[in-house]
């Protein structure tokens, strides 16, 4: 029998501490939609998505009602479009992006991920077409998210792709200049991308995945922070133990929701992504967890150690709670989406260099960071190169989602509203890396028999 304390604890987590299921993401394979005629391929894509995801939103809402836990997003990820569209003679994939957008609107979801290409070892014709279509696709659609994997531990870093993405990000920002470069918030550059990540903007349905699958992402930074408030002054063992126990409880909720959703939709259950993902709401911040550990402000010395502890404890607790853990799993540190990160960046406590260091120990990378609009493509490419190098060498996923806000300078702000939040422009190094970036070719894969 449940105790009254346990019941009240659950209710409190949901009602006061922002515990939620961040996303139910339906992964859909579009491999069977390839066709020499782009229009036929697009029709097949539209039909398949709207058929499989017809009840996704409804089922999500029903589960939220039954269990009394909010499910914030219902989303879809699809096979990287570069793979599906390549059979067509089309050189511009805007049509495919518009098809995804229409399908997303039809089933009532706010984001669809998978306008993607995997180019870590090199480009095919379809990969080239997709990457070149990204700026127009993100400016011309509302709900489509794009991602490109430019590096992996096994293949090294495709520096041609890195440089190209620097230019694509600039172009995307320019084309969405009226909204502070919003298009870039829907574009992620990856190293070692996971195939089952339910979190946008980097979600896509990997080629090792089944026909259709339900993946769930849980989140509850507020719950972790509240738990830590009760152990103020305790040693690190206690701190880690407290986070572990809390992560366990959060993940159990995700496991329940994922299994019920999969059953109701008649598709297999994939994974729970055990991540702490913030929102701009006060009390739902990863940075505030780090500050609760004893840092005066996120970004100061000690931040990397605090984040490492947090990330590891979340994984340990989550792995015990669910046997099918995947995706990115860890702590997300998107600047514009986290009230504590926004404050730290505005005060100058959080710099680009510290953010980069933090990404060595957390689950993603340089995420939702606004930089000056006049930052050269070469500098953006160099930032990407640094970040993917961290992923490649450390055999982990890293990602870059930068917004070079057109016409804005350090001291200005970008405003995206909703879950994407707002952020101050952070300075980047002025000294050029153009010669380095322009070399082209591939940085070889690292050797791992001589680890350090």
């Amino acid at each position: 029998m449940l105790t009254i304390e346990e019941i009240l604890e659950t209710i409190k987590m949901v009602q006061q501490e922002n515990l939620d299921i961040r996303t139910i993401t339906m992964g859909i394979s579009l491999r069977d939609c390839a066709h020499p005629e782009a229009r036929v391929a697009c029709q097949k894509i539209y039909d398949k998505i709207t058929r499989l995801a017809a009840n996704l939103v409804e089922v999500g809402e029903e589960i939220a009602q039954t269990y009394g836990i909010p499910i914030v997003n219902k989303r879809i990820s699809v096979t990287p479009i570069a793979l599906v569209a390549e059979s067509s003679r089309e050189e511009d994939y805007l049509l495919f992006a518009q098809t995804l957008d229409r399908a997303a609107r039809e089933v009532g979801i706010n984001f669809i991920g998978g306008f993607s290409a995997l180019v870590h070892k090199g480009f095919t014709r379809g990969d080239h077409a997709l990457v070149h279509s990204i700026p127009a696709a993100l400016a011309g659609t509302e709900r489509v998210c794009a991602s490109v994997n430019v590096a992996s531990t096994k293949a090294g870093i495709n520096m041609d792709a890195v440089y190209l993405m620097g230019r694509v990000i600039k172009d995307t920002a320019e084309r969405t200049a009226g909204q502070d470069g919003l298009g870039c918030a829907k574009l992620v550059v990856f190293a070692n991308v996971p195939e089952d990540n339910p979190f946008m903007a980097g979600a896509f349905h990997g080629i090792g995945e089944p026909e259709c699958v339900i993946n769930v992402g849980v989140s509850g930074p507020g719950v972790v922070k509240k738990a830590l408030e009760k152990v103020r002054g305790a040693d690190f063992g206690t701190l880690a133990e407290t986070i572990k126990k809390t992560a366990f409880k959060i993940t159990r909720m995700g496991e329940l929701v994922g299994r019920v959703a999969a059953e109701k939709l008649g598709v297999p259950f994939g994974i729970v992504d055990i991540s702490l993902a913030p929102t701009p709401a006060v009390g739902d911040s990863v940075a505030e967890i780090l500050e609760e550990m004893g840092l005066e402000r996120c970004g100061t010395h000690g931040t990397t150690a605090a984040l490492a502890l947090l990330n590891d404890a979340v994984k340990k607790g989550g792995a015990m709670a669910s046997s099918y853990v995947g995706g990115l799993s860890g702590a997300f540190i998107p600047v514009s989406e986290d009230a504590g990160m926004i404050r730290a960046a505005a005060e100058g406590a959080l710099s680009m260099d510290k953010l980069e260091a933090m990404t060595c120990v957390c689950s993603v990378g340089l995420d939702m960071i606004a930089i000056p609009g006049d930052t050269p493509a070469e500098t953006i490419a160099a930032i990407i190169a640094d970040e993917v190098a961290i992923g490649v060498i450390n055999r982990k996923t890293t990602a870059v989602r930068l917004i070079p806000a057109p016409g804005k300078q350090v001291g200005d702000w970008v405003e995206f509203g909703g879950l994407l939040g707002r952020a101050p422009i952070i300075p980047v190094h002025k000294i050029s890396a153009a010669e380095f970036v322009r070399r082209g070719g591939r940085i070889p894969a690292p050797i791992h028999s001589l680890n350090n």
Binding site: L2, I4, L8, T10, I11, T66, G68, K249
Partner: protein
């Protein structure tokens, strides 16, 4: 997920008629109360009911709407959730 048991929680300032109001709604729709426990949480009244909706004449959604309206009338917050939400979190 086959169980039809739900957990109803009522939190708010104490006053006369809270239990009667909630129990009345449940009785009207053939929902059986299995257990009631109550505590004072700081200065707040907190009551937990476990009920069986196996023979209920209304859906959980409809019940939630009735309870929300009753909660507003009584000045307390009432929520109803399937028991698995709690079992899953606290029991392996």
């Amino acid at each position: 997920m086959s169980s039809k048991r739900i957990i109803i929680s009522i939190i708010g300032p104490d006053r006369v008629g809270i239990i009667a109001g909630v129990a009345g709604i449940l009785a009207d729709h053939n929902i059986n109360i299995l257990d009631i426990s109550q505590t004072i949480l700081q200065e707040f009244f907190a009551m937990i009911m476990i009920a069986d909706m196996g023979r209920s004449t209304i859906s959980l959604q409809e019940l939630k709407e009735l309870l929300t309206a009753k909660g507003e009338e009584l000045g307390v917050s009432i929520s109803a959730q399937h028991e698995d939400a709690f079992n899953y979190m606290h029991r392996i």
